[in-house]
Amino acid sequence: MSLASAPTAGRIDIAGAAIRLGAGAAAFEVVRDIDLTIPPRQFVCLLGPSGCGKSTLLGALAGHLDLARGSLALDGRPVAGPHPERGIVFQQHTLLPWRRVVDNVAFGPKMRGVGRAERLARAREFLAVVGLADFAERYPAELSGGMQQRVEIARVLINRPRILLMDEPFGALDAQTRLMMQELLLDIWTRLPTTVVFVTHDIDEALFLGDRVLVMSARPGRILEDIPLAFPRPRGRELVTEPDFVALKRRCLDLLRPRDGQPPLPRLTPLGLPLAGAA
């Protein structure tokens, strides 16, 4: 299988989905009434206030969380448990610290039983795609945060997933690195097209990256607005100052404006409630 061989499809169908978190009396509904279809190879950004359940929805797509109601299917097959065809990139710190960068990227093929020489060669190809060919032998701790996220993207893409799920993947990076990573991601996506669901609370990021932005309400999260983005690709930085972009940004700001007296909610994770000490 060559690097650029396309995944077969990547269509997502969500119908009447609701997700509950917590146990017993403390349980609450994080998202409800989610109806959504994402065609193959679309780049969708989920935009919403902190704690609105966008990461929770992503966790359900990845198979780490179960639905309380409704259905969720990839290419017509219901999602049940994690699978390499649904790759997920977390915000930070998910590379195996005890594996060299190249071994981290080769992890998926290793799990499939690909031989050592072949999987390392493939991992080096994908490291070249994210511009880190010279760092293959390093340990993750020797890399900057931005470089670690690039390794993370290569590690997920080597499995040629049907969908790429990203949970604020650049949220922990400084502004400069974040802009660079956004352009890198678009560049990779044009060469290795796949369906992307990208969670962010950064309006500029969502509008710059996506084919479509789904704005979510505060908890319980529902989809408030489904905004198609027709900006031509390839996109450059100058896009963010164009009048159409600014107008859409204003619309998103209005949708996301917190209602009076509502304190910001704690961030949720694709694995459910934030765990104490799981920094």
Binding site: S2, L3, A4, S5, A62, G63, H64, G81, P82, H83, P84, R86, G87, I88, F90, H93, T94, L96, P97, W98, R99, F107, G108, M111, R112, R124, E125, F126, A128, V129, V130, G131, L132, A133, D134, F135, R138, Y139, A141, E142, S144, M147, R150, R155, V156, N159, M180, E183, L184, D187, I188, R191, T269, P270, L271, L275, A278
Partner: protein
């Protein structure tokens, strides 16, 4: 089509790695700190010498029968040239290593099970918590009754000493494996066995090494107790025999030998641990 035809990304992101950081080593201490540390040892020796040679008697504790450092040094010199030293050392090393390795296998196995499975924890922890406070010396009668040879019962007693530090540290390490690492490994196609091998065990390894170093220390700690059963050889036996034979100089020689061997083998465990964990050596450049 290969990566070559795809080329490097269009944006300027290819970076050169900086020179690899040297593996972290213990930097030599400055001379004045070395001098202070050597001086402290010297002061300790001097205090011992004074107390022993003056036969200091403080009524609640007396140094009347405590040998002087010089007497101990002479006894150590004599032991170093005695043919029985090798037999003593060999017997003790074999017992400690046997008990330690058995504790390593049992401690890591049980610890991983307890750390990763609530059922295993509920089944195993209550009986283990009852056994944990029992000191090595209390095991002697039962160990003699339970094992066919005195050699096996001595190995068992060092095993009881080493087991719990290894077990508890392994449990702690296995519980601390990040749920995010586990989740991302599952999303990359790892099954339960691969999660254990690729994520949980490496994540627990620093704790396991710490437990091993402590367990190695306590195994030596239990040696005198264990070798009370011995009829012939062993450093612990030598120490105890010296007391019954009133060779007071040799008691201290035996004690110091146990201390040095225990320290040396704990250092060896930590060194082996560092070799097994190359990722902890480098730092952020």
């Amino acid at each position: 089509m290969s990566a070559g035809t795809l080329g490097a990304p269009g944006v300027a992101l290819t970076a050169r790695p900086p020179a690899r950081a040297e593996p972290r080593r213990l930097s030599p201490l400055p001379v004045h700190r070395l001098a202070i540390q050597a001086g402290a040892l010297g002061l300790g020796l001097l205090a011992w010498h004074l107390a022993a040679s003056l036969k200091l008697d403080l009524s609640f504790v007396t140094f009347r029968n405590v040998p002087t450092p010089a007497a101990v040094a002479r006894a150590a010199w004599a032991l170093a040239h005695a043919p029985k030293l090798g037999a003593h050392l060999g017997a003790s090393l074999a017992r400690v290593l046997g008990g330690f390795l058995a504790a390593l296998v049992a401690g890591i196995g049980l610890g991983l099970a307890i750390g990763r499975s609530r059922l295993a924890g509920d089944l195993l922890l209550p009986p283990l918590e009852v056994l944990r406070p029992i000191p090595a010396v209390a095991w002697i009668p039962l160990a003699i009754l339970m094992f066919p040879s005195s050699e096996a019962s001595m190995v068992f007693i060092t095993f009881t000493g080493a087991l719990f530090p290894i077990l508890l540290n392994t449990v702690h390490g296995a519980e601390a494996a990040s749920p995010r690492l586990v989740a991302s490994a599952r999303s990359l196609g790892a099954g339960p066995a691969a999660i254990l091998r690729e994520v949980v065990i490496p994540a627990a390894l620093p704790s396991i090494v710490t437990g091993g170093a402590i367990g190695m220390g306590t195994a030596w700690f239990c040696l005198v107790t264990a070798e009370m059963i011995s009829g012939q050889y062993g450093i612990g036996y030598f120490t105890w025999e010296s007391y019954t034979l009133q060779n007071y100089d040799d008691i201290v020689v035996g004690m110091l030998l146990i201390g040095l061997l225990g320290m040396g083998s704990s250092v060896a465990v930590r060194g082996l641990g560092r070799l097994a964990m190359p990722w902890t050596r480098g730092g952020r450049p």
